[in-house]
Assembly symmetry: D2
Homo-oligomer: 304 residues x 4
C-alpha cells in the first residue's frame, strides 16, 4: 500500500467535505474548540507514520478512552467481566436508560456510557490509585509520558452530567455498581477528559492492530484473543446508534468521541486516528467518518 499517495488523495478529498454539523456544546471546553480543525494520522505495524493537518494537536478524546479502560479492566478481571456487562450492540441512542432497565442493570456493552461506568467501577475496585494508574497505563502503551487528564474538562463534565448520574444510580439499584457512586463518577469524568493528538492515539492503540503486543517495544498489552475481542466490540458497539453505518461504509473496528475524534484499527496493518470537531446527528465526527469511508473505499481495504 502506498500510504504516501493515499495521504495526498486524502489531502485533496478533505477539502471537499462540507463543513456541516456542530461541535459538542454541553460544556464550554468543547464548545470553544475551532470547528474547522482537521487532523489525521496513520501508524503502521512496520513503524511508518503518515500525518496530515492538525495531527499533532491534542484534543479531548472523550469516549475513545473507553476502549483503553476496557482493555485494562479485561486484563484485570478476565471472563468475570462479562457477567456485569454484555457484548451486544445497543440498538438505541447512546445514553438510553430503557435498555438498561429492561435488562436489569446489565449494560449491553462496555462502550456505551452505562457499560463504561461499570468498567470504571471495576477499575476503582481493582486499582489502588485508579486515576494515577490508568494514566500511567496509557503513557506506557503509547510511550508518551506527557499524556494527561484535563482537570477543567473533568470539572465541567461533573456539573452537567445528570444523565450519567441517573445511569449509575439505576445500576446501583440493580446491584451492578459496587463502589461509592461519586468515586466512580469522578474517575469516569477524568477518563473522558484525557487529551491526546491523532498521532498519540495511533501509537497508543497500535497494539490492537498487532494482536495485542506493542509492535514498537514488543511488550504485550493483552493476549491475541483479547485483542481480537476488543476489536470485535469496537466494530459492533463503537459508534453508538451508528455502528452499522460505520461498519457498512468504513469497515474497520473503531471508536468515536464527542470531541470529534475517531480511532480505527486495521488488524495486521495499521491504526488510524482522525479529528474534526463538527458532529453529525448521531454524535460522531461528520468529516471524520467521510474521510475514513474515502480511505477504505479507495484502498479497497476494509476488514470485510
Amino acid at each position: 500500500m502506498d500510504y504516501q499517495k493515499l495521504f495526498s488523495e486524502i489531502a485533496v478529498e478533505s477539502k471537499k467535505v462540507e463543513a456541516i454539523g456542530e461541535v459538542a456544546s454541553y460544556i464550554p471546553e468543547l464548545r470553544n474548540v475551532d470547528p474547522d480543525k482537521f487532523g489525521i494520522h496513520l501508524a503502521t505495524l512496520d513503524k511508518q507514520n503518515y500525518g496530515l493537518g492538525d495531527y499533532n494537536e491534542r484534543f479531548s478524546i472523550q469516549s475513545i478512552a473507553k476502549v483503553l479502560s476496557l482493555t485494562l479492566a479485561f486484563e484485570l478481571e478476565e471472563g468475570e467481566l462479562w457477567k456485569r456487562v454484555g457484548v451486544e450492540p445497543s440498538g438505541t441512542p447512546f445514553n438510553s436508560l430503557v435498555q438498561l432497565e429492561y435488562e436489569n442493570g446489565i449494560p449491553r456493552n462496555p462502550l456505551i456510557n452505562a457499560g463504561a461506568l461499570v468498567i470504571c467501577d471495576v477499575l476503582v475496585s481493582r486499582l489502588k490509585n485508579p486515576k494515577q494508574e490508568f494514566i500511567e497505563f496509557i503513557r506506557n502503551i503509547s510511550g508518551i509520558s506527557s499524556i494527561d487528564y484535563c482537570d477543567r474538562i473533568a470539572e465541567s463534565e461533573k456539573l452537567t452530567s445528570y444523565r450519567n448520574a441517573a445511569l449509575i444510580n439505576l445500576m446501583k439499584a440493580y446491584g451492578n455498581i459496587t463502589n461509592d457512586i461519586q468515586v466512580v463518577l469522578d474517575f469516569y469524568f477524568n477518563l473522558c477528559s484525557i487529551e491526546m493528538s491523532c498521532k498519540e492515539l495511533t501509537h497508543a492503540f497500535l497494539f490492537l492492530a498487532a494482536n495485542g503486543a506493542n509492535p514498537v517495544t514488543g511488550e504485550r498489552v493483552v493476549n491475541v484473543s483479547k485483542s481480537k475481542r476488543i476489536n470485535a466490540i469496537m466494530q459492533l458497539c463503537g459508534f453508538y446508534d451508528e455502528a452499522g453505518e460505520f461498519a457498512f461504509k468504513v469497515g474497520l473496528p473503531g471508536k468515536s468521541g464527542v470531541g470529534g475524534g475517531i480511532m480505527a484499527i486495521h488488524p495486521g496493518n495499521y491504526s488510524i486516528a482522525v479529528w474534526s470537531p463538527r458532529l453529525n446527528s448521531k454524535g460522531n465526527s461528520h468529516k471524520g467518518m467521510k474521510i475514513l469511508e474515502f480511505l477504505t473505499t479507495v484502498t479497497e481495504a476494509s476488514i470485510f
Copy 2:
C-alpha cells in the same frame, strides 16, 4: 494454514461439545430432524475443500437465504434500498415489532424478519418471476443446478406465521411494502424453505470471501464495495440478539438459520458452513457456534 490438520482437531473437538438445546419445533419439518446431525465444510479461494460429518446432506437453510436475497436486491436496487431498510443491529429479539413501530416501519437491517420481508418486496417488484429467478440466481452462483425450494416446508411456515403477517401488515401501514401482502409472504416462505448442504452453502457464498467475484468461474456477483458491505451487515446483524457474542467469540461475518445451519466468511481466505440442529436460547446452533469459536481460536485467525 493446514486445514487438514485443523479438520482433524475439529473432528475431536466436535465430539466433546455437549448435546444441549432443542431443535426448532414450530413446524413438523424442522421438528422431525435428527438433533444430532453434524456437518461442517470449508471452501478456500484456491479451490480446496474440507468436509466433516454430514456435510453433504441437505437441510433447511432458513434465514441463511436472507443474505442471498439481500445480495440480489442490493444489485437490483443499489443505494435506493437503504431508504427502506437500515444497516444497524437490532438490539432486540429477532422478531420484535417494537423497534419497527418506533422507527415508523423501517426495519433496522435486512437480516431480521421485517427487513427480509422488505427485501422480498423489492424482489417481487423487480423480478418477472421472483420465485424462479431467485432459485436460478442461487444455482448460478453455486454452480449446483439441483438446489431447490421445499414446498412442504414453505406450506408449513405459512400455517404458523402470524408474527410475520403482523410485521408485514405493520410495514404496509407505514407504506413500506408496495406489493400485495400475500404475494410477498409467499415468496418469503419459499425463500426460507430452500435446502442445501454445508458444501453447497460454502460454494454459493464463496464470492463474499472473494470481494464479490466467484473464484471458481471468475464471474462477478457484486462489486468489491457491495461484497464488503454485505459482509459488514452479516457481522453486525447476522445472529439476531447474539451478533455481538458471535463477533466476540468467532470474529467472522456470518449468518445463522433456525434449521441449525451457520454460514461464515473469512474475507480473502474461505467460506465455511456448519450444521447442527440443536439451538441455543437465542435461536442459533449451539454446537455450530462452539465449533466456529474453536476454529478461529486455534487458528488465531478471525478478521479482528
Copy 3:
C-alpha cells in the same frame, strides 16, 4: 338540575369554541363529513330529553360501539373474559403494538383496538350469527329498530386497516385469537361502521346510568356489578392516551370515536352524547371535550 337552562348555556358556549382540528381522513366516508356539524343530547333516568343542534343526525359512531360489544361479551363470557384482556389503561397511543408484545398478546383493556378485537373474537365464538345478533342487541337496548351497519364504511375500513391486521396476527401468534382472522376482522369492521345519532346513543347507553337496567323498559341489560365495571373501564380507558385528561377535566366515564362522537355517563343521573367531527391530536373530538368540560364545570357535577 335545570337541564333546560344548562342547554341554553351550552348553546352559547358551543359557539365560542374555536373550530380547530381536522376530521378523520383515513377513509373517504369520514373525510367527507361536514367538519362543523355539532349535536348534543342528554337523556335522564326520569325520561327527560334535551337536544341541541344536529342531535338527530346519524354519524359513524366508530369506537363508541366497543362499549356495547364489551357489554355483550361480558354478559356471555363472565369472568373468563378477563383472562384474555386486562382492565388497565394503556398508557400509550391507541394502536400501539409495543404493549401487546411486552404483555404476550394480552391487550391492556377491551377499548383499545387490540382488546376490541379479542372481544370480537369472543362474540364470533359465542354467537351463531354475530353480525345480525349484535345489531339486534343494540336495537333492543335502544328501542330503535332502524339502527344499522354502514356497508360502505365497513368496506373502506377493510382496505386501509393494516394496523389492525398486524394487531390480530400478533395476538393469533400468542394464541389469544381463536377464530379465523378474516372472520373476526370482518365483524370488527362492521362494528365500527354503525351509524347512530346523539339521541339514539343516549338511549342505547342509558342502562349504564341506571345500574344496568333500561329505565324506560325496565329490562335488565347487565347486573349492577357489571354496569359499574363497564363504567369503570370507560373512565380509565375510554379516551386512548387522553383518558386522564378526560377524567381530570370532565370527570365522567365515557368513550370517544374517530367519527367525532363522545358518549358519557353520569351514573344515577343521565347519559349524554356529543358530536363534532374535528379531532384533537389524540384523536378525540376537540369541541366535544370542551363542551363536556363546560357542562360538568358549570353544574359542578362530575362523579368525583
Copy 4:
C-alpha cells in the same frame, strides 16, 4: 346506609381473607411490622365515625402522602403545574424510567415516584421551610397536631433509594427539576415517612369527599374543581399498574402506600382508610383491596 351493620359484615369478612403476600422489605422499619395488623376506619360527611381493628394505630403512610403534597402544590402553582407533570395513567410498573425517557422528563402523573418528585421540587421552590410547612398543612386539615415525620424511616429510605436518585437525575437532565437534587430528595424521603392511623387518614382526606372543604371545620382546602380533579387523578393513577383493577373492583378514587395503607374517597359520602401490611405482587395491600371490594360490592355504592 347502615354503616354499623356494614362494619359488622366487614368484621366477619376480614377474617376470611387469606393471609397471603409479604410486607415491604427494602427498609428494616417496614420489614419489622407485624404482617397481620388490620385496621379500617370510615368517616362520613355528617361526622359519623366507624372503626374496626387497629384503626387507631399509626403506620407508615408512604405514598398516600403524595396526594397531600399534590393538593398543596396544586393550590400554590395552579395550572402551571400541569406543564411539568401529566394527568395520564402510567401503564407501566410504578418506578419505570422508560416512560420518563420517552416523554422527555415529564412524568405521566403526580402520583408515580417521578411525578411526586416534581411536586416536591415545586414545594421546595414555593415554601420557605418545606418540611415544617408541609406537616403543618396536614395537621391543619386533619385537626391532629401530633402527626409527624418518622426520622428513622426517612433515613432508611435515603440509604436504599438509588432508583429515585436515577429518576430525579434524569428529570434534572431534561430541565424538569429546578432545585438541588439532594434537597428535593430529602424532602421526598420525609414526605414518605409520615405516620398516621386509619382514623387520622380519613379525617385528613375528608375534604376530598366534600368538594374541597373540611366538613368539620368548614375551612376550604381547595376549590370544587380542584377537589374533583385530585379525585380523578387518584382514580386513574392511584394504584400504580393496578389502577384499572381498583377502579374495576372497588370503584372509588384512592391511593395506596407500600406500608399497606389504602385511602379511598366516596365523593359526597365518606372517606375510608384501611391498613394491612401484606402486599400483592403490584405493591398494594392484598387484604385492603379485598375488603374495599367487599364494601362497595355489598353496598352497591361505588362512584360508577
